[in-house]
């Protein structure tokens, strides 16, 4: 009983009885009433009128019992069964949608979150579509290619070329403020309602029924998996959207700080120690702006927007020199060496390439050995321009080279070049990789204690379509 949803009316009002039991209780009572009235009529006709008053009392007692029955019990909504005998579970669901949905809705209301955006009509529509989808799933031949794909989690879009009913349900629940637990409970209720009502309509269970039940459970599990996948996807999306808005809001005051500090520096009226302190404000705000920009790019690329490029004729060597100058300004204690050879020009988004290379060079400066310079090489060769960034220092463990560009990979301490800059979100390498990929290029990493660490950026000179 704990598995089933409560009856729609809870404890109040007449108690629900299975329709067959209600019928079986009423039938002998109506017969007592009918026969006592019949006998009273016949007794009067045969001249035995003296019996009639007592027979009327029997009939009145019968009516009183019927009234009590009606007062305290009511028949559950009748279940549709095919008069010709056994039916399939799919047909049963089709014929009894309303009864199933009524039970399920009563349960869903009990777990609706307080203050959530609940629209009961929409809730019922979703449940109805789910039921239709599940019934359709029951009707698909078992072991067909589509079914086996679905059971592995590759669901085709079954509804209007968009989301499946289960996915729509998951999305709606995420929006309504349901927890995953509440959504799972809803599916449990749907499963329990269908099975309980179906079993109640069966006189005996056949092997085909068991097969139907197994397939029904499989279909519910599939729908549940789809709902949860969509639910978590939507939840992730709203979190990332929040980050994107936050990132944007952070940049606004930051821009004001940087502009004000640059203005003060520009007056050339400062002396030490103020000059050094204001210079630090400029450098730190620039670095913070860079981090926030990475965060924005990260969320944008995760939200499916990708990295947008504005390509124009650019020189990789020029970009590298600018990047080196900027990093030297931020890290005056560190040595950077730049070497360029070959033709350095291509069609790139120079600002983006600068952002990517800055991330790589800052990474090398922060994690490389302080005693050796960071070497940046630019080499133009045929269709590609290659930029290498090399630092000395402890090697990145081989186990961390894989997924080094994945910001979700755990970064627990350590001081090799795989770790994000101290105090950063560790998004720099991820963003660098996204930008280079957007240009049709790639970044390789080689690292050893003897040779140090080298990031190699390969940039095709032209967009893929133009080559």
């Amino acid at each position: 009983m704990t598995d089933g949803p409560p009856p729609p009316d809870g404890g109040a009002g007449p108690r629900a009885l299975p329709p067959q039991l209600m019928h079986d209780l009423r039938t002998p009572l109506t017969q007592i009433i009918g026969y006592s009235e019949l006998v009273a009529e016949e007794a009067e006709a045969a001249g035995h009128g003296a019996f009639a008053p007592d027979l009327r009392k029997v009939s009145a007692a019968g009516y009183r019992l019927l009234a009590l029955l009606d007062e305290h019990f009511r028949a559950e909504p009748a279940l549709e069964t095919e008069p010709a005998g056994p039916t399939t579970l799919a047909a049963f669901i089709g014929a009894n949608r309303e009864t199933i949905l009524a039970e399920w809705e009563a349960f869903a209301r009990t777990c609706a979150p307080a203050g959530g955006v609940m629209d009961i009509a929409a809730l019922r529509d979703h449940a109805g579509e789910l039921l239709t989808a599940i019934a359709a799933e029951l009707g698909t031949p078992r072991g067909g290619p589509e079914r086996s794909e679905r059971s592995k989690g590759h669901a085709p879009a079954a509804f209007g070329g968009g989301a499946t009913a289960a996915e729509a349900h998951g999305a709606e629940r995420a929006e309504s403020g349901f927890t995953v637990g509440q959504m799972v409970a809803e599916y449990r209720a749907l499963r329990a309602s269908v099975i309980r009502l179906w079993m109640q309509s069966r006189r005996e269970t056949t092997p085909a029924d068991l097969e139907d039940l197994a397939r029904f459970n499989e279909a519910v599990d599939l729908a549940l998996a789809e709902s949860i996948a969509q639910y978590t996807h939507d939840l992730d999306r709203s979190k990332e959207m929040f980050l994107a808005v936050l990132g944007h809001d952070l940049r606004t005051p930051l821009t004001a700080i940087a502009a004000s500090a640059r203005f003060v520096l520009g007056t050339q009226a400062l002396e030490e120690p103020s000059l050094g302190l204001v210079s630090r404000i400029v450098r730190s705000s620039a670095r913070m702006d860079h981090m926030v920009r990475d965060l924005l790019d990260f969320t944008r690329s995760r939200l499916g927007g990708g990295i947008s490029l504005a390509r124009a004729d650019a020189s990789a060597a020029a970009v590298v020199r600018e990047v080196a100058d900027e990093v030297r300004a931020a890290h005056p204690e560190r040595a950077l060496e730049v070497e360029a050879e070959g033709e350095p020009r291509g069609e790139w988004d120079a600002a983006r390439i600068s952002q990517a290379l800055t991330n790589l060079v800052v990474n090398a400066v922060e994690h490389g050995s302080g005693e050796a310079p960071v070497r940046i090489g630019v080499a133009g060769d045929g269709e590609e321009v290659t930029v290498t960034i090399h630092n000395r220092g402890p090697a990145i463990p081989a186990s961390r080279i894989d997924g080094i560009f994945n910001p979700m990979k755990g970064r627990n301490g350590g001081s090799s070049a795989a770790d994000g800059p101290s105090g950063s979100l560790g998004l720099g390498l991820y963003i660098a990789e996204r930008i280079v990929s957007a240009h049709g290029g790639r970044i390789d990493v080689a690292s050893s204690d003897a040779e140090g660490t080298t990031f190699t950026v390969r940039l095709p000179r032209r967009p893929p379509a133009a080559r």
Binding site: T27, G34, L38, P83
Partner: protein, 127 residues
């Protein structure tokens, strides 16, 4: 003398109601299931049919639908009888083509009133 076809699967209900109707002067023929009811309506040409709704093989709604769909029987008034007043049963009965509706237990004066009204209306139409 009007002829009534009583389609009812429960033996005691059949016996009880047919005897009470006969006492009131009607000729009663009986059938015990849906197909039997449809066949008896064709064979006996009753003036009115009392149709239980929960019948074996073919329920009362479907049997009524068939009777009302056949030229030979569609003019015969049908009164639906149901075991208990389930909400929606009345609508379903009328939807299937029943001319009136009554619930068990049968209150004979009430049922006789409905029967007489339908017989009068049918007789009026035929004249």
């Amino acid at each position: 003398m009007s002829k009534i076809l009583l389609v009812e699967d429960n033996e005691m209900n059949r016996d009880m109601l047919s005897r009470r109707l006969e006492r009131k002067g009607y000729e009663v023929v009986v059938a015990v299931d849906g197909p039997g009811g449809v066949a008896a309506a064709g064979a006996h040409a009753p003036d009115l049919i009392l149709m239980d709704m929960s019948l074996p093989l073919l329920d009362g709604w479907e049997a009524t639908r068939r009777l009302k769909g056949a030229p030979a029987t569609r003019h015969i008034p049908v009164v639906a009888l149901t075991a208990h007043a389930m909400s929606g049963d009345r609508e379903r009965a009328l939807e299937a083509g029943c001319d009136d509706y009554d619930t068990k237990p049968i209150e004979l004066p009430r049922l006789l009133g409905k029967i007489e009204a339908l017989l009068a209306a049918a007789g009026g139409r035929r004249d």
